[in-house]
């Protein structure tokens, strides 16, 4: 277990390091002057000079790289051009909203995707399975703004049962009514972002389940007198879920990218919407910081899915794979 875990953590750290280096070199490789990308022209000359010195922007590339890493390690991502506050502070205000959205998506994907996948596997080839597979094909090629627009049009505009955007109805309430209000605002963005992952989860659970149901130990479980429900819940499901969880882990990077678009459409106040605002304000420090934060989030979530896979598949712990 420990060797597997250490290898995964090392790879995660390497991924973060490469993301950091990418942002550094992308900014420097461009024909434009890095000073103009890191230091706002609206700052006072003293503040500008302090930034240039902190990042060594007038020094050789390697020195700059070292200083960049030191600043980053201290949690200093620069100052936002548009809000004039430290990027780190700005990002951390927004992070909980994005994590809430991603968490809701994962709950939806697991809570609906796995039962539907099991259903399709049990009714393989019958019309229930066919309906599911058509939905899956459509779900995989969906374009997030499109599904968002459809949801908004139907539920916010036609039937008027859902809010059109934002995370709560101002003024900000308190207690239970606030929680319910946020939950109501969370529904449409969650559904819009979950569709692709849901389709993937259904497909992989279905195929995984079909494979597992042919195994010898399933026949053994039946011959011991278990009924279908017991066999599926206690013997088949845990094994059938290995590919599903692996694929959810692989898709997390894509999901975070989708969150940028979803949060933009629904004015959800997370890191994604922040990226949209930063693009329009040409706020480069915020863009870089947001990318790094999302990269770290992806690495952490990947690590969690790796742990879940190791729990589902004990062979991994022994170093077999």
């Amino acid at each position: 277990m420990s060797r597997y875990l250490i290898r995964r953590i090392l790879r995660g750290l390497l991924t973060i390091f490469i993301s950091v280096s990418l942002t550094f070199f992308i900014v420097r490789a461009m024909p434009s002057d890095p000073v103009s990308l890191m230091v706002s022209p609206q700052m006072t000359p003293e503040a500008q000079q302090a930034m240039i010195e902190a990042y060594g922007l007038d020094q050789p590339l390697l020195v700059q790289y070292g200083k960049f890493l030191v600043q980053l390690f201290q949690g200093n991502l620069g100052t936002s051009f548009s809000k004039h506050i430290p990027v780190t502070e700005y990002l951390l205000q927004r992070l909980p909203w994005t994590l809430m959205l991603l968490g809701a998506v994962i709950v939806l994907v697991l809570g609906i995707g796995i039962p539907v996948g099991v259903f399709a596997a049990r009714h393989r080839g019958k019309w229930g399975d066919r309906v599911v597979s058509v939905m899956v094909t459509l779900g995989i090629s969906v374009f997030i703004p499109f599904i968002s627009f459809l949801l908004l049009y139907l539920f916010a505009f036609r039937f008027k049962v859902m809010p059109t955007g934002g995370a709560y109805t101002p003024p900000k309430g308190e207690g239970l009514s606030y929680v319910l209000d946020v939950a109501k605002h969370l529904v449409l963005p969650t559904v819009a972002l979950a569709v692709t992952n849901l389709a993937n989860a259904v497909m992989y659970t279905r195929n995984g389940m079909i494979d597992v149901l042919h195994e010898d130990y399933i026949r053994t479980a039946y011959s011991k007198g278990n009924n279908e429900k017991q066999v599926i819940l206690h013997h088949a499901l845990k094994n059938a879920m290995i590919p599903t969880v692996t694929v959810i882990g692989l898709q997390i990077g894509v999901m975070v990218g989708g969150a940028v678009v979803t949060e933009t459409v629904f004015s959800w106040p997370g890191v994604g919407r922040l990226i949209y605002d930063a693009v329009n304000a040409l706020d480069y420090p915020v863009l870089q910081g947001a990318f790094l934060l999302l990269a770290v989030a992806v690495v952490v979530m990947n690590l969690i899915t790796d742990l879940v896979v190791a729990w589902l598949d004990p062979r991994i712990k022994l170093g077999g794979k």
């Binding site: 505009f157 990077g253 894509v254």
Partner: protein
Amino acid sequence: MKKRKSGFYYFLHNRNGMIGLCGVMLIVLIGLIGPILIPKPEGYSTDILQAPSAAHWLGTDGLGLDIFAQLVWGARTSLYVSILTLLVAAVIGLPLGLICGYTRGILSDIIDAVVDIFLTIPMLPLTIIMAAIMGSNITNVALILGIFSWPSLARVTKNSTLKIKEMQYIEAAGCLGIGKARILFKHVLINASGPVFVNLTLVMASAVLSEASLSFLGLGDPTTWSWGTILKRAWSANAVITNPNPWWWWLMPSLCIVVYVVCFNLLGTALNDTLNPKGR
């Protein structure tokens, strides 16, 4: 010779594949010929937010510009972006994938690790940074998308190369004294082409999705029409939730994107089924 004929035969009789192929050919035709016949929608006119009619087949937008003309011009942009992205991804990804699968050693390990890491990093935010810094111009966007699309292609190429290099005919070719490079390109690559073709169609489909997302976020080229740009304009004008609703403005470009992606996916699946004899 006989075998090739039968592969083609299977492709012609794959219903989904033919639907995909016809769809792709139609889009290519529209993208190539449409902009010659239909003038580029520019400026503004007085026919604001007209519903679909004989004069404006798919209605008009908030500036009174014809949506159908915008979609036709957008088809050309989508094709251009997909093809350029595909070329960049193939030039980087194919050789790296072949090397990674065919050789054993430090180089192959490094490529493998880099591909692993690039597949984890959230790509959309990274392309957003690059597009914001490089400036929104359709060629830049396609180059950026290509630079970040190669890892999946390299991985797929590596996996099929790994399988093929264990085959006896590759060993036989080695025994005959044929050079490594020739074996790699003439014998391995050709036989690994099934999954590689599928991945190439996926790259083309996802390039259009990414370009549309970038345009939607305001990083599109302001001088050309793309389906994402039309959506962005519709969204900025609150077209989805205003009354009366100009549904044609946001629905039509969305449908174009979905049809494009579905056609490429169908084509890719059919190619896989025909190029891989076990799938027939």
